[in-house]
């Protein structure tokens, strides 16, 4: 049996080189080419998905650990208590901006920079699937 990514490659090749060029109508032709593009992305997703989930969990755990020190218990329960890690981070970001004046520029900047560093890591993980090949 062929590996899944190999099968997908074959489908992509056929869609791009055989099926799409043979279609005269613009709309179905665009659909065939777009199917090839999507299957290439899906191929990356199938191979790398579990790695990404592990990395994401690791990144978020580290972030919340660091923020608990940086904010010294200033974050409200509604932020701390949310179970979904990404939803929790969204609420924390909103809270930081809402409380920016109260926190003061130094504390806000420190927390915001730490959040942005984690967001960078999360984005880099997602771009392993969605980033276009150079």
């Amino acid at each position: 049996m062929l590996f899944a990514h190999r099968l997908l490659e074959e489908v992509v090749t056929s869609l791009r080189n055989v099926i799409a060029p043979a279609i005269a109508e613009p709309y179905p032709k665009s659909q065939a080419y777009m199917a090839a593009v999507i299957l290439e992305f899906v191929s990356h997703q199938v191979e790398e998905r579990q790695d990404l989930n592990d990395e994401k969990t690791h990144t978020l755990n580290d972030l919340f650990h660091d923020l608990s020190s940086l904010l010294a218990g200033k974050a409200p329960d509604v932020v701390v208590g949310t179970t979904d890690q990404e939803a929790r981070l969204c609420r924390l970001i909103e809270w930081l901006y809402t409380e920016k004046d109260r926190l003061g520029p130094e504390a806000f900047t420190a927390a915001n920079q730490r959040v942005r560093a984690a967001l960078r890591q999360l984005l880099d993980q997602e771009l392993k699937i969605a980033g276009t090949k150079e």
Binding site: Y27, M34, A35, F41, E86, E94, R116, G131
Partner: protein, 342 residues
């Protein structure tokens, strides 16, 4: 659309052209473009008072569930185009708006088929077309003149204030942020912390509008009909607002619309655009505001892609182009993150 739909259009045209006899359609094409609306282009032929008449039409139909969901209003687009007809802005003439969804399955309007091509700038052929036109020099100037015609427009005199007039200060920028955030809220299937950071930054840093103008909202090549190296019509009227003219300028200046081309919107040199635009409008380009709006556009693009992929996931639209956009979300968020310095 099936052949019977063509029959329905013929019946509709008969109702609008009571003098017409032997009416038929030719070159009936559903274009591949248009994510928010179904677009059909065709020629109608009929006999009238002993003469044979041929007229090109473009029909824009509400598909029920388009990319912009409830933010897109076909009737408003028709009214805007009608209001623009007597102005110097190059726009297609509109003929009829039909609200009755039973005729074609949704509201629609019919406008003239403008001569020219809205060549897609993302394709190899398109990039080459615009690069060659840029060298000839006529199209870059026409590109700027058409934009200036919008920004110089007396929108109150043209009765365009029905689309909403923001208050002074930061209200325009904040209204735009709120508008696209509402589309995000309708579309979001999982938390997106990077997007939350971008949204909160936009809310905290909204620029003040110096002067209100009539703004297209998506002014770029691909949304402009071109004939003989001149803009024959500005099309794709879905995102127009009364607002900060820098909103359009930022879109032109943005890397979002040139995909590696050294030319803005793949057609005009940056310095030439800046000098000519300022000369034609009397406005001084506010680059800080443009930087802000460029990040707002990245957020807006994210909203589009979330809406598109959401519609596909919800089973409301089977167009594979919409499914593909799920991979565009992190790419455009990455652009926003880089613009914000992370």
């Amino acid at each position: 659309m099936s052949e019977s739909t063509q029959d329905k259009i013929i019946s509709y045209l008969y109702s609008k052209l009571p003098q017409a006899k032997d009416l038929s359609l030719s070159q009936f094409v559903q274009t591949a473009v248009g994510w928010s609306h179904e677009i059909y282009v065709f020629y109608a032929h009929w006999k009238e008072a002993g003469h044979e008449v041929t007229q090109g039409f473009c029909l824009r139909k509400d598909p029920g569930v388009g990319l912009l969901r409830n933010l897109s209003d076909l009737k408003e687009q028709y009214r805007v185009l009608k209001a623009l007809e007597p102005t110097s802005a190059p726009t297609p003439k509109v003929y009829w708006y039909e609200e009755d969804p039973t005729l074609l399955g949704g509201p629609f309007f019919i406008m003239e088929k403008v001569e020219g091509e809205a060549t897609n700038p993302w394709s190899k052929v398109g990039k080459q077309f615009y690069a060659e036109a840029a060298k000839r020099g006529r199209l870059p100037r026409s590109f700027i003149e058409a934009l200036a015609s919008l920004h110089n427009l007396d929108w109150r005199a043209a009765d365009l204030d029905f689309i909403g007039v923001p208050g002074p200060g930061t209200e325009f920028a904040l209204r735009e942020v709120a508008k696209w955030e509402s589309l995000i809220q309708q579309s979001l299937r999982k938390p997106e912390p990077v997007l939350t950071e971008v949204l909160m930054w936009l809310k905290a840093n909204a620029p003040k509008t110096q002067r209100l103008a009539f703004v297209h909202g998506a002014y770029r090549t691909g949304n402009l009909m071109i004939k003989d190296d001149l803009i024959s019509a500005i099309i794709d009227w879905e995102l127009q607002v009364i607002g900060d003219p820098m909103y359009d300028v930022a879109y032109v200046l943005s890397d979002l619309n040139r995909e590696g081309s050294p030319l803005l919107s793949c057609v005009v040199e940056r310095e030439f655009f800046i000098d000519t635009y300022q000369q034609l409008t009397g406005l001084i380009i506010d680059f800080d505001a443009c930087r802000y709006y460029e990040i707002l556009y990245m957020m807006r693009s994210t909203a589009f892609w979330l809406s598109a992929s959401g519609l596909f996931a919800e089973g409301k639209n089977k167009d594979l182009r919409l499914a593909r956009t799920t991979y565009s979300v992190p790419v455009v968020l990455n652009m926003a993150a880089k613009a914000l310095g992370f």
